[in-house]
Symmetry: C2
Subunit: 241 residues, 2 copies
């Protein structure tokens, strides 16, 4: 972990939410400045090291979380240990939505990460007073659902190369939406995480990336950075071969 990331931005005492870097990306952006104190009273900041656990599948779903910094992965396990990562979350993303009695998945920090924790019941009460916030939360669930359906298409019907190309383009798109560079993506997760996200093995991910590098589509840099050298070709790969 680089020394410069030691202190991540997360709610501080006093006026936690107003200065939150992730505020506008998240549900919190639906509230006016005047209403922020009501939100701030509910919030409990959480700071996790890599591999730190946020929630475990099946636990009582008493809280909702909002990622403010870093990357978090959501995953489900089979009894024999096979794992499917259902999503990677970044600043502004919510987790804990999909829940009946207990959480539908486990969540764990990929990088050092900061989150805000909301007691579900108290947040529900706030949502009843703040329709805009409920609408925003609903819209986020809607987007997550659309992303899940896209991922089902990937898992069920795409080849390893298509999956990998889609993954890289998805990473780049997310980074761009958060204001980062568009053609050099930061790959924070391990090959094993990528494999479990794409329904492949680490070996296949590695081989596929190597082949793409050999074909001049990407460049693999140190520190897990990947340059998308030929976006058009990758986009072609992502959908048809």
């Amino acid at each position: 972990m680089p020394r410069t990331e030691r202190h991540l931005p997360h709610p501080a005492l006093g006026d936690p939410c107003l200065g939150c870097a992730a505020r506008l990306l998240s549900v919190c952006g639906a509230l006016a400045d005047d209403d922020m104190p009501a939100l701030a009273r509910l919030v409990e900041p959480l700071h996790l090291q890599p591999r730190g656990t946020v929630i475990a599948e099946g636990e009582p779903a008493d809280h909702l979380f909002n990622v403010t910094a870093g990357t978090v992965k959501l995953y489900k396990l089979l009894p024999d240990g096979r794992r499917q990562i259902t999503g990677f979350l970044g600043p502004g993303d919510m987790l804990g939505l999909a829940a009946g009695t207990g959480y539908a998945y486990s969540a764990e920090a990929v990088t050092e990460a900061a989150l805000c924790r909301f007691p579900r019941l108290r947040l529900e009460a706030l949502l009843d007073e703040q329709p805009a916030m409920r609408r925003r939360l609903f819209a986020m669930a809607r987007d997550e659902l659309a992303a899940a359906q896209e991922q089902m298409l990937l898992l069920g019907r795409k080849t390893a190369r298509e999956k990998t190309a889609s993954f890289l383009l998805g990473l780049a798109e997310r980074a761009a939406r958060r204001g980062g560079p568009a053609d050099a993506v930061e790959v924070a997760m391990s090959r094993a995480d990528i494999a479990d996200y794409l329904g492949l093995t680490t070996e296949t991910v590695s081989r596929t990336l190597t082949a793409m590098k050999a074909a001049g589509l990407i460049r693999l840099l140190a520190g897990g950075r990947i340059v998308l050298a030929d976006r058009a070709a990758l986009a072609g790969l992502a959908q048809a071969g």
Copy 2:
């Protein structure tokens, strides 16, 4: 199509929603009887034959739909025609939720089906007056999201046998929730639909079912009915080999 199913229950003139068979299963159940007329004014009934199109991916998402009878499938396509079915809907299920600019998926009737169509904007207005309805809609989206994640686990990490066993058990569970028999499921969809739902081919689905039949786990009846002869064994298969 059997003669007895010629006339499916769907909203008639006068008091369409009050007598709707799917009402309590759906968002509409969140409204009191007195508020039903407000809902009924928005509603437009839709009656589809098998293979009839409800929506097409990318179309402007102007409407929300509620299935009242029959089975509807949701799917996404790749340019070369590969298809992933993301879900099968029955009475009470909503569709048209996942939408940015346009619909995120296409939807088509599997059996003869009846739906209610709501203009999105006018329904949104009603939701603002009826918080209970918005909560219900949100809960439905939440459940759909949990189901999507379960399906990602299936698509990414389960074998053909596990997928097929999970599918049969899922069908039985749905049927039971709607009050049907628990161990003889009505399989309304074709092998091709099942394959596109499980990320397999029709041949593999057929072979797997045949093998299960040979192993005494299921019995294949006429008219697409399947008897789950050994539920415990199927449940074992569904999660671990």
